[in-house]
């Protein structure tokens, strides 16, 4: 670990500066490559052109519609997946045997390409937001359920005992004792669940929807409007980064408040 001592020594080598410089350098190289004819405009337009398109697109009506559709799908998927996940987590904790039986299956659902069920859902619900919502919510459900279960199991047995000795009702025990004790671990599960809802929704839109941000990216690829395609990829990336940063901030705040 000798190298650590050199970190952040001079002002210019501060990590955030180096990071920003690296990102800018990559953009500059891409710009030069596209402008200089090294990369065909049909493969990749210059980043400046992408950004210009991005600004135009963000101001346009169809973009807002797509954003609203995707946002609503993510929100419903997360709401549904989060709720079911919480219930499963509580159930598996309350009945440890069922938890032990189902846990390996729940964990391996992480590795399941649940999207293979899309043709089935498509046949049942038609081409709308429902199949997307269902798949995204099953993805969101897993981390919520696992974290809830682990969080509840980690509660020291003295706490429920204390609640009993204080003559708490069952509702009071859940609300005043168990829930606050579990929150620091449940929240990361919810955060991860939300991120999975975003990933699931956009990925599903990409392959099967008729609206939404993910769909639009694929649409522009198929109609050879490469600049717009890149602009949409950028938009999705930026939205996802904002969501991620926001959730991390939220998670850290909650954890700090709980301590």
């Amino acid at each position: 670990m000798n190298r650590t001592s050199s970190g952040g020594g001079t002002l210019l080598l501060r990590p955030p500066l180096v990071r920003a410089a690296l990102v800018l350098a990559v953009v500059a190289v891409l710009e030069a490559a596209a402008r200089g004819g090294l990369v065909e405009p049909l493969v990749m337009p210059p980043p400046s052109v992408m950004f210009a398109r991005l600004v135009e697109i963000v101001r346009s009506g169809p973009f807002v519609t797509d954003l609203v559709v995707t946002g609503a799908t993510v929100a419903t998927a997360f709401g549904l997946g989060g709720l079911v996940g919480l219930m499963i987590g509580i159930l598996f904790w309350r009945f440890p045997f069922s938890g032990a039986v189902f846990e390996p299956y729940l964990v391996s659902m992480y590795s399941m390409p649940t999207i293979v069920f899309y043709p089935i859902l498509l046949a049942v619900f038609g081409l709308g937001t429902k199949p997307i919502m269902i798949i995204a919510s099953t993805m969101a459900l897993i981390p919520v359920a696992l974290n809830t279960m682990v969080a509840l199991r980690a509660i020291p047995p003295t706490l429920p005992k204390l609640a009993r000795s204080l003559n708490c009702t069952r509702l009071q025990t859940y609300r005043k004792v168990l829930a606050p004790a579990a929150v620091p671990m449940v929240v990361p599960g919810l955060v991860l669940g939300f991120i999975y809802a975003v990933i699931g929704t956009i990925a599903m839109e990409f392959i099967l929807a008729s609206r939404g941000l993910g769909y639009r990216t694929g649409f522009f690829y198929r109609s050879f409007e490469i600049a717009d395609m890149y602009a949409y990829i950028l938009v999705i990336s930026i939205v996802a980064i904002i969501v991620n940063v926001g959730l991390n901030y939220f998670e850290r705040r909650i954890r700090r408040d709980m301590q």
């Binding site: 952040g8 045997f97 089935i120 682990v150 990933i199």
Partner: protein, 266 residues
């Protein structure tokens, strides 16, 4: 590394079930075996209620035919080669990168936000870029798999390497071990189970990425075969491939998980 390491919980090894373990040892495995059996029974009972779901027997027969007559082999071959090549490629980049990020605090501070910040970006949306670069086919799909595998492996490797024991590192330095020796003799053997977690997650994600990529655009592969069977309303075939994909994903995950536990114990 914020969310991912702190909150991805498997919990499988950590919890014990004293009551079930002591008095009725057979009950837990029996319960676990019962889950797919009950699912199969439900499928058998519920299938006749709808036209959208074929019964299990024609589905299994179709899957069997796939191997007997060979119609499934080109799909398996295409998907498997994209998954394994892409996974190997992604790991080849991710493992050294993760090792460096885990060993150097400075590099970690520079790159970690770039990696975790992009965690929520659905990787599949870069697939059109790969398609415009390479055209539809093996290369684009392999690239997609490699990108998908890269991120979880970098993050888990870096997190695992960071856990390497200070004392052992000091011992290595006091013995004048070279950097390569420290890596090969001390850090990697010590944190192997943690690295294996990344490999397992990376492999699952590779498989999922390949199937999604094939749904979108491919010349061959199981994902494409599912879409084709769906378009041609060949439901038994569609369900047969879906079933095989699920079994392959489950089996692969179980094997890697078993390897992980072996490493942890030794």
């Amino acid at each position: 590394m914020s969310t991912i390491e702190t909150s991805t919980v498997t919990g499988l090894d950590t919890v014990s079930y004293p009551r079930a373990a002591r008095s009725r040892r057979w009950l837990l495995p029996a319960g676990r075996v019962a889950v797919p059996v009950v699912a199969l029974l439900l499928w058998l009972v519920l299938a006749p209620l709808t036209e959208l779901v074929p019964a299990p027997i024609p589905t299994v027969k179709e899957a069997w035919d796939g191997f007997a007559t060979g119609w499934i082999y080109p799909g398996i071959q295409a998907t498997a080669s994209a998954v394994f090549t892409g996974f190997a490629l992604g790991t080849a980049f991710a493992f050294p990168a993760g090792y460096l990020l885990g060993r150097s605090r400075y590099l970690n501070r520079v790159f970690e936000p770039l990696i975790t910040g992009t965690f929520a970006i659905p990787r599949i949306i870069v697939y059109p870029i790969l398609l415009t670069l390479f055209g539809v086919g093996f290369q684009a799909e392999t690239g997609m798999v490699a990108i998908s595998a890269f991120f979880p492996i970098v993050m888990s490797t870096a997190a695992a390497v960071r856990q390497a024991s200070r004392t052992l590192l000091k011992l290595g330095r006091s013995l004048n071990a070279s950097r390569a020796q420290i890596a090969m003799k001390i850090v990697i053997p010590e944190v192997a189970p943690g690295i294996m977690v990344g490999i397992r997650i990376g492999f699952s994600i590779s498989f999922i990425a390949a199937i999604i990529a094939e749904f979108f655009a491919a010349k061959e592969g199981l994902g494409l075969m599912i879409s084709r069977a769906h378009a041609g309303l060949d439901l038994p075939r569609m369900y047969a491939i879906v079933l095989l994909v699920m079994i392959a994903a489950f089996g692969g995950n179980m094997i890697l998980w078993w390897a992980e536990r072996r490493l942890r114990r030794s």
